[in-house]
Amino acid sequence: MKSVTVWVDGNTSVEVIEPKDSRAVHLTVDGKLIRTTPGKSLLEAVWNRPGIGNIPALCYHPIVQSYGACRLCTVEVEEQGRTRFVASCLYPAKEGLVVRTDTDRVRQLRKGVLELLLARCPEVKVIQDLAIEYGIEKPRFALGVQDCILCGLCVRTCRENIGRSAISLVNRGIFREVAAPFYAYELGDGCVGCGDCVYVCPTGALKLGPDGKPVLPKVHIPRPAAEGLLR
């Protein structure tokens, strides 16, 4: 048995006595030792602990599985003397890990990602706010007109929690979109109108339509071959 002082949130620390067979995992986040259960990701380990770590996250939501798309949650971890960047929403918490969530290098990387997001979605409030926090005035690229950042939260909740899979991510690369089969804008029987997708959408790109079903963002058709499908 061994006694350790761990932080519950940014201001409160407690002393715990670890039983011999304890499976608890201890990690140091920005200098503070925290205690969590195995199987959690780094982001989950600091989730709901105000004052510990500074990790923005747009594609993470506790009700669905982590996906690792927005990369804003990237942090630095030190393991066996090696430092590297990892997405904290996916990286498993491991005993003795040293995590830094707010170093200059991490901030620089997030700034780069945010500049790309802001250029894609200049009108989205959460992105604008984060951009200001990370010191971006104006993206150095041509501005886009989208609101959707393709975090896939809507798709994931529809599949994992509602069990419908009425919508999915279609196409690849820069043409990727959230869409219903055959690029239909109006959702058919697949959708039960639960509104979960609208609820989890971090940017407000999905809105509820009059029939209680979401209104999907307009799709960019990637190749001529797909055009016929819309007719």
Partner: protein, 165 residues
């Protein structure tokens, strides 16, 4: 066009379609993991992946339609609309690019109004580009209906196309 055809005929075609799709699905013994191969066989059969085939696959394999659609739109191999009688594939891989693959594409556009992904108005050709066909030593390379034509030049292109009507 379809609307002008009499509806019985259309119905007949659709049924025969769905039999062919069913036969392909039967060959896969319900294995969802072989979805990509299955779609490939459907495409080989019809020259494209018809919408109804996707619905049928989704129902018979019990995979959400949205997932079938995701796969069909993710992979470049799949076409969602019918193609021309002959498929021209021009390689725009690095080696062919360095040796002038793009010129062939330009020429097809100039002569036939054919752009990548498009089909000529008379339904004679569909053009696709591919990033490397793996016969780089013969660049620029072009494949028509599965037959390789290496070291293509503008003149050779004219000659070659003539034999495909």
């Amino acid at each position: 066009m379809a609307a002008e055809m009499d509806s019985e005929k259309v119905q007949g075609i659709l049924e025969r379609h769905s039999e062919r799709v069913n036969a392909i699905i039967d060959g896969y013994e319900g294995r969802k993991d072989l979805m990509i191969s299955l779609l490939q066989d459907v495409q080989a059969e019809f020259n494209y992946v018809p919408r109804d085939a996707m619905v049928q696959i989704s129902q018979r394999l019990d995979v959400p339609l949205s997932q079938v659609f995701s796969i069909a739109t993710f992979f470049k191999a799949f076409n969602l609309t019918p193609r021309g009688r002959h498929l021209i594939t021009v390689c725009d891989g690095t080696a062919c690019h360095v040796r002038g693959g793009l010129r062939l594409i330009d020429k097809l556009d100039r002569d036939l109004g054919l752009t990548p992904g498009g089909t000529t108005e008379d339904g004679r050709f569909t053009l696709e580009t591919v990033r490397c066909l793996g016969a780089c030593a013969l660049g620029p390379l072009m494949v028509i209906d599965g037959k390789y034509h290496g070291q293509m030049s503008s003149n050779k292109l004219d000659r070659t196309l003539r034999s495909y009507t």
